[in-house]
Amino acid sequence: MSAIVRVENLHKSFGGIVVADDVNLSFETGEIVGLIGPNGAGKTSLFNLISGVIPPDAGSIFLEDHRVDQLPMHHRARIGLARTWQNTRMFHSMSVIDNLLIATRRYPGESLARILFRRRALDAFRQEATEKAVALLERVGLADKMHEMAIELSYGQQKRIGLARTLMSDAACLLLDEPMAGVEGQAYETIIRVIREEAQAGRAVCVVEHNISFIRDISDRTVFMFNGCVLASGSVEELTRDSQLTDLYFGGEHPQ
C-alpha cells in the first residue's frame, strides 16, 4: 500500500484552543480510515487543514508525495483532495444536478474565453459531466430529485448529495465529515456500499462519524482524536477495549 495523503507534525491552534497538536497520519490507497473522537476534538479542523480551508501553524501535508500545505484550496481539490462538509453546504439557489455539475474535473464553464472559442469541446465535457452526475445520483438513490432545489431536500438527502458531489472529480482522497448524520433506512446501506466501492477503486477514504457501529462496519482502521491529539489508532474493538478512551469519548457512559 502507498500513502495518498500524509500529514506530518501538524500543528494548529485558535487562540488557546489547540485543534491539531503534532498530528501524524496517513491515508493509504484503498483504505477506509474511521476518525472518531468527542465533539471539539478537532476532526473537522483536521479536514479543514488538509483541504486548505485553514492554514496550519506548522507541519506539512503531502498528497501523493507532493507537498500541498501552501497550495490554495481549489488547487488541492484539482489534484485530488475531495471533501464533504459537516453542514452539507449545498449551493442553495441551485438544483441538485447543478450542485454536482460544478464539481466536475473539467468544468465547461471555467472561463468566458473558452465558452466563446471552444464551444464544441465544452459541449462534449458538459455531456460527459451530466451523464456522470446522473449516474452518481442513481448510485446514492436520488436520481428522481435531480431537478429539485438541493436546499429543499431533507438533511440526510443533502448529505447524500454532498457525497455524490465529492465523487464527481475522481479525487484520490475522500474526506467525509459525518456522512451518516440524518441518513436513515435503506439510504444507510447505500452509503456504506458507495463508500466501500470508492475505496475498492483505489481511493483513500477518511470518515468522521459519531455512529460507532457504522465506523466498525466500514473502517479498516480507526483513529481516535482528543483535544487535537491523535491518542490511538487500531480497530474499533481495540479502541473500545481501552476504558480510558471510552471515558474520554462517552464521558463515562458505556458505548452501545
Partner: protein, 304 residues
Amino acid sequence: MEYILTVMVLIGINVVLATSFNLILGYGGLMSVAHPIFYAIGAYCSGLLAIHLQIPVPLSILIGAGIAMVLSFGVSLPSLRVSGDYLVIASIGFQLGILHVINNLDFTGAAGGLTNIPVLNEGPSRSLVFVLLIAVVAACAVLLVAWIVEGDYGRAITAMRNDEEAFSALGRNAMNIKIVLFAIGSGMAGLAGALYAHYFAYVTPEQFGIFTSAALLTMVVVGGAATTWGPLVGAVLLTTLPQAITFLGLPVSIMAPLQGVIYTTLVIFFLFARPQGLTGGSRGGGGLEAWSASAAFRARRDAE
C-alpha cells in the same frame, strides 16, 4: 423636446451603470459600492485624453472604458483577501481615495469639474442621435450580462455567490471569476462615464460620490438584484422619479435631502419586504440575500 431627450440619455447611462453594478453585486455577490468611481474614471480619462491629446472622441471613449477595466484590479485584487462587509469598507476607501485625488488635481479641474470636453457628435439632431446610440449600448450591456450569467459560467457564478468555500473545495477558482466580473462590470461603467462626458461636455467629482453609489444600489435593489430586467426597470424608475419630483417646484434645499430620503427608504423597504425586487421571482435577491432581513431568506440561510 430637448429636455426629454436629455432624460433619455440619462436613463440609458443609468441602465448601463445599474446593469453592470448588478453583475458585480447582484450576480457576483461582491459587496463593492465603488461602482461610481469606475464611471468617473471612464469620464475623466476619456475627457482628458480628448482635451489634451486631441485623441478622436470615439477612440478616447474606448480607452476610457479600458482604463476603468484595468483599474478595477484595484478593487478585485484586495478582494482576494477580504470579502463581505470588509469589501464594502475597502471599496468605499478606494472610491473616496480616488475622488479625493480628482478633487485636488488642477488638471482634472479639481472640485470645479472638468469643462469643455469635446462632444461625440454635433448637429441639429445631436441629442436624438445620441439617444439612439445610448439605447444600442444599453441593450448590448443588458444582453452581455444576460449572456455571462447563463449556462456554465453563470452556474459557477451562482455557486461562488452561494458558498465560496464549498465552491473552492470542489476545485473551482473563485478569484478568476471575481476578477472577470469586476473587470467587465467596471469597464461597462467606464464606458457609461465616457459617453456621459462627451455628451454633457462637463463632469464634476461630486457626481461620483457615495450618493451615486446609493442611487445605483437603489436601482438594483428596487428593480431586482440578479435578474436580467431588474436593473433596467430600476434605472428607468429612479431616473424619471426624481425628474418628476422637480416638477413639484420644491426649493433645492428640500429637493436634495428628499431624494436621499426616497432612495434610503426604497432600499430598506425592498430589502425587508421584497428582496427579489420588482421583477425577481420567488428566489431572487442574488448577492443581496446576505443583507436581506426577510424571513424567507433568513430561513434559507440558517438552514445551512
